[in-house]
Amino acid sequence: MTRVLRDIRNNLVEFVRTFGAFQLFFLRLLRHSPAILGTRFGLVIKQVYNTGALSLVIIMVCGLFVGGVLALQAYSNMAVFNAEDWTGVAAHQVLVKELGPVMTAILFAARAGTALTSEIGLMKATDQLSAMEMMAVNPVRRELVPRFLGGVIAMPFLAAIFSAVGLFGAHVVGVELFQVDVGSFWQQIQLIAESEDVNEGIIKSVVFGFAASVIAVWEGYNAMPTAEGVGRATTRTVVITAISILVFDFMITAALI
């Protein structure tokens, strides 16, 4: 029994310590960010391209189907009240405020986040980060910060693309399949949707971008420098990002209501 308690206590201490180190790490990335944006913008662009290109296809495909399924659900519910015209509005609200940012962040973690983690973890395992240290190049600045910024910049765009493609999917289902009048489908969206809805989506995607990127980079940088350690770190990237995104989503939604 005392052993169990001791384990719990040790785990708790370990958790607090890790969380503190994580926050310091985040601050360190932020501290170097302005200089890197100013002087090594090429490195950042390369990473925006990397993460963006990696996730773009999967995000468009998922966006299309999520938009489609939202329209299916919305139509069948709205039809009960003879409010089929509202199909688009329902899909729009859910996409822009919730599923766009959340799904994008989780897909991003699964596709680009894992790649960031394993790249950095492998660089560590093969002494590339130490080699940079020895060449008097700070690996945090040279490798970690550009990857972090790449993710931070790419995420809002990816979320916007997800929502746009999702709306197109809703249009296909609502207008082409269920014959909702095209004019009222889009007019309702214009009437009901407010800029606050879009702002909420943007705020979320920015916050999620920071969270998903810093977690991926952190996990890679702290991976055990072995093949197994890197493998485990990539798994943790997905799990931890997914959990944090959902928690943040709840908190932001609650704060904005």
């Binding site: 002494d127 590339q128 080699a131 060449m135 008097a136």
Partner: protein
């Protein structure tokens, strides 16, 4: 503290442990300017660890390390980076940057630290690659190189900034006899022609004998013996003889610390 016009690196009473295992326990060692110093010792004695301590990639629990009169534990990050620019280091496994070509790997320190024109960089890089016999591999990616080739590229990278101190971690492993001869002569020539101080980690008693001015044999966290290769070869300490002549039995245990063999095989729980 000794004479810094002569001693480039001084290590005083160094203690370093990983977990509960003491790797260095009161190590004292001096590396003289302009010489080739060999660090030898059985696998796992901490030769690589010592190199990382000297370059402050690791921080000792106790003891002081002086490089050119500077106590490296007192340096700020930027002072440390300034000092490291005077070092070139060849890692045990090469540690080439895998997303850059061979050419860009060698050019990396130049691009990061200098504002040289592309033409000049190209000139310098190709000269260094030529010296290790790999000018023809400039456009290849590290993944396409063999282990020995990667190590030679890493050597070209280590010397591209014309460092004052070159550190080689096992430079002779995995080289064919021809490249081996070339690399041994290159280490010697860099040292003599450019007045570099070199530290070479190696198990290879033969190669060390031809290239080193002074050797240290590390064992059990201390310097077990030191001297010129000839002195070591003729030393009558049992430990030195065992190592220099490659005998399994002697004061250096071939086996890493372990519970009793019989006990472990019979599966008795030692906890």
């Amino acid at each position: 503290m000794g004479d810094y016009s002569e001693n480039l690196i001084e290590i005083h009473d160094l203690k370093y442990s990983r977990g509960h295992r003491a790797i260095f326990d009161g190590l004292n060692l001096t590396i003289k300017r302009g010489e080739i110093t060999a660090l030898m010792g059985p696998s796992g004695t901490g030769k690589t660890t010592l190199l990382r301590l000297i370059t402050r990639q690791l921080i000792p629990q106790q003891g002081a390390i002086f490089v050119d009169g500077l106590d490296i534990s007192t340096l700020s990050q930027s002072e440390l980076y300034q000092l490291r620019q005077r070092f070139g280091m060849l890692f045990q496994n090469g540690a080439l940057l895998t997303d850059l070509s061979v050419f860009e790997n060698v050019a990396f320190p130049l691009r990061e630290h200098t504002k040289l024109s592309n033409r000049l960089i190209r000139h310098i890089v190709l000269t260094k690659l030529h010296a290790v016999g790999l000018r023809g591999a400039a456009d290849m990616m590290p993944a396409q190189l063999s282990g020995g080739m990667a190590r030679r590229v890493a050597l070209a990278r280590a010397m591209v900034m014309d460092p004052e101190i070159l550190i080689y971690d096992e430079p002779f492993v995995g080289l064919d006899p021809i490249s081996l001869g070339v690399i041994v002569r290159l280490v010697r020539r860099l040292n003599d022609a450019l007045g570099i101080t070199s530290i070479v980690v190696s198990h290879d008693v033969e190669e060390i004998a031809t290239v080193a001015d002074r050797s240290f044999l590390l064992s059990d966290g201390k310097v077990a013996a030191s001297g010129s290769p000839d002195e070591l070869r003729t030393a009558n300490s049992e430990l030195v003889r065992q190592f220099m002549h490659g005998m399994a039995d002697g004061p250096v245990a071939f086996h890493f610390d372990a519970p009793g063999y019989e006990e472990q095989l019979l599966g008795r729980d030692t906890e």
